[in-house]
Amino acid sequence: MSDIQQPLTQLRILDLGTPAPRDSAAQVSLEIDGQQVQVDAGTSVMRAAALLGINVPKLCATDSLDAFGSCRMCLVEIEGRKGMPASCTTPAEDGMVVNTQSGKLEKLRKNVLELYISDHPLDCVSCPSNGGCELQDVAADLGVEETRYGLQGLNHQQAAKDESNPYFTFDPSMCIVCYRCVRACDDIQGSFALTVDGRGFESKVSAGQMESFMDSECVSCGACVNSCPTAALEDKAVIEMGQPQKSTVTTCAYCGVGCAFEVETRANDQGADEVVRMTPYKDGRANEGHACVKGRFAFGYTSHKDRITKPMIRDSIDEAWREVSWGEAIAFTASRFRQIQSEYGRDSVGGITSSRCSNEETFLVQKLVRAGFGNNNVDTCARVCHSPTGYGLKTTLGESAGTQAFDSVDKADVVMLIGANPTEAHPVFGSRLKQRLREGAQLIVVDPRKTELVNGPHIRAAHHLQLLPGTNVAFLNAMAHVIISEGLADEDYVNQRCEIPSWEDWCDFIRLEENSPEHLQAVTGIPADELRAAARLFAGAGNAAIYYGLGVTEHSQGSTSVMGIANLAMATGNLGREGVGVNPLRGQNNVQGSCDMGSFPHELPGYRHISDANVRGLFENEWQVKLHEEPGLRIPNMFDAALGGVFKGLYCQGEDIAQSDPDTQHVEAALKSLQCLVVQDIFLNETARFAHVFLPGSTFLEKNGTFTNAERRISRVRKVMPSRSGKEDWEITMDLANALGYPMQYSHPSEIMDEIARLTPTFSGVNYAKLDRLGSIQWPCNEAAPEGTPTMHVDEFVRGKGYFAITGFVPTRERSTRKYPLLLTTGRVLSQYNVGAQTRRTGNVVWADQDLLEIHPVDAEDRGICTNDWVGIASRAGDTVLRAVVTDRVQPGVVYTTFHFPETGANIVTTENSDWATNCPEYKVTAVQATKVTRPSEWQKKNAAFNRRQKALLDKARV
């Protein structure tokens, strides 16, 4: 817990110049500057020297990129060889004798450096990179202060800056054309947005084809900025605020990839730390030094003026808010909840845990509900995203989580991507996948839409199975049919690892003609030949891995699809080692964690059913309270019960159910019917407009805790500044519990984690000291696996033998009709995150400032719709209006939009249909009609008026 008092400061990891060789079997010994060193074969001389602590000067080399050999600074002498080879591109060999220092080498290096700086501004003191510039460091090391060549000749010193990107500047006058940015964009990010235009003296780094960064294909991941050795590519914040002074390692609060970052801060005039920039942390196992536009740049919301930092209460939602003390807000909430429970019964209140808050914080909310409220009415946002993953994988494999680490994909030969768009929604994993595809792995994309991975720069999917929304189970059954009927299954694996009766039943079922691709092509829209070819590719791979997203889960048969995916992986022997597996790409930063922490109404932490008396006894003993043995209400059932008049109070921690949940009008009616809605958030979100109590929470920069990402990786979140509201979220829940008469006493989240470890077998080995030591831990972490478990189900499945569930295709009730002839499906864009509460309050709006409706040219022409037209979209649940984009990314009959902007109200049109097993909403299929219109929908007008009224009621609190 060293970090509590002293944050990790100035944690700069040595750059070894070139990457470690991959899968090296042999070792070689060599001598460098009189010292012996043993390294893996394939290691460069530069890296071998760096491992000895010998710093060979370099400009174009960095260990995050393959050697390039262009800057000529790293020349060395090797005995018995002619000339002076570049140490970055020369592999170390057995018996080699290397000199990195000599008079001759120094003279050469100085001369090269003088040539560099003859076309570089020499005013280091006024440069934003002063103190963080590799050119400056090399010049200082070599003692070069001026250039013999003078600065008068032809140069690039008047070149215009490109300031088009909201977050960074490109200043060509500072550029030394080392190609690091170009290589980072190609090799790490995979966007191929940068090039060097021209040759020789005319060489100039160029985005796109001599476009500005904003107009090019650049996705603003920041890899080029990170890799730039000079101030040519620099964060605007560094230019404005100066070089950061302190760095703290933490975990990103955006998507489920869970990237590790260094938060770099600087004291302002008042002495308070302000964030200058966030840079991806090289030692972070989830991201290994890469980032995306959200995590890298979009943190401005944390200090946005819309932040609410004082508790507020009101008696009814038609009244003005009143700012009150924490004590008054907590006492008000507690008395309201007690009063409701005494009038309407113990089950009349509940809570929602936040998938954006920490493990410790979600654990406390479910504890408050179970122990403090005395019921099990607790649920979490995973209800609306990956609850089918939990159910499906628990049923088939025995554990409610993905089976691999992200780096497993580096060993995959065939990747099948179903209903996921990682380059938009999980960008850092998307880049890793693209790296593997460029190395030759094959890709099968199963998606109603043409995503970037179907056909992108240097990437082309072997198969794009463009199925109709709502037919995933039919598709999966057809895949299985081909594998079983053509004898492609791995029967040895199945015999050894799986439950044979279930396998035999499943085979009998899957062999039926009704599951053949020929029979199902009319349902799925996938040509049978193409599907057969894809099935053969998948089954024939050495290592085949399945990655999937919400396009699998958010369906009426989401859970069935997840089981179908597990069946395919088991039948082909693709579980239990690296390079394979079943990999759910989880949405929010801590949605895996919130599920692990017992946020579902039927499960205690660690996915143990509430009806299990032994497990309940364990918690009852620790918590000193009797627990209710029956499952509580799920979110949609809370809404139903609210409208039924029996559910009256809801404590909602960091989730915007009014925007994110389907059938908005139903949700709003339910929220309006509550007698006490408590919203704990950083902004007055859409849900808070219906609230009676607002408890201001803290951002990830303002608290300690842990997040768990999609690969079960538990990583620390570290406080870099005091909470703007004065309380970390776990403290608020603790105060509320105490006010309700259920005592909670913690002085630090590490104590909550210790309690989690005591109560949860898969977490028993987790503690903060170990997290600090190891950096991160993938659960299960216990006596059997003290440092965690990167790959699950290695020798046997968690449930023992793998279970093949029968996955009958039951078509959704939602189908196109004459009145609603199109199928609407939903998704994400790269620059925005979830309901947009964070990203809409950052510079990211330059990439997307509204939700758009994608419609195929044929459907658009039938309706007279052109790009940019206002389009009304109506379903049986409601209607809304947004702008159209006419594109063949969608197929005829299918339209597509996102739900990042509340004024769009995309969920006005989604319905109450849901997954049969978990009630995960069927966001991905809604029958709609689209028509050209000229004005907003009635709901949008009413919503805008309601917003104005609520804004006025907020303004009254703030005067």
Binding site: T560, N637, N919
Partner: protein, 83 residues
Amino acid sequence: MADKESNNCEVNREVRHLVSMANDIADNLGFRAEAGDNSAERIADHINRFWAPRMRALLLEYAAADGKDLSAALLSALEKLKT
């Protein structure tokens, strides 16, 4: 009075929702069910494990009073529901 009416309407909506949820469970767990297999147990077990007592009670109340929208597979499971 108006309030009460809208409440009644919503109660109906809640029951309608529960009926369609229960039918979905029966359609999926009772898929290709044959006489004498255990699909009724599986359907009942699922509802017992995941539904709050009030939801089960409302479903049973509807089954007793009307029940016309309940699928055959679901009807076979009702007697095994915990009350």
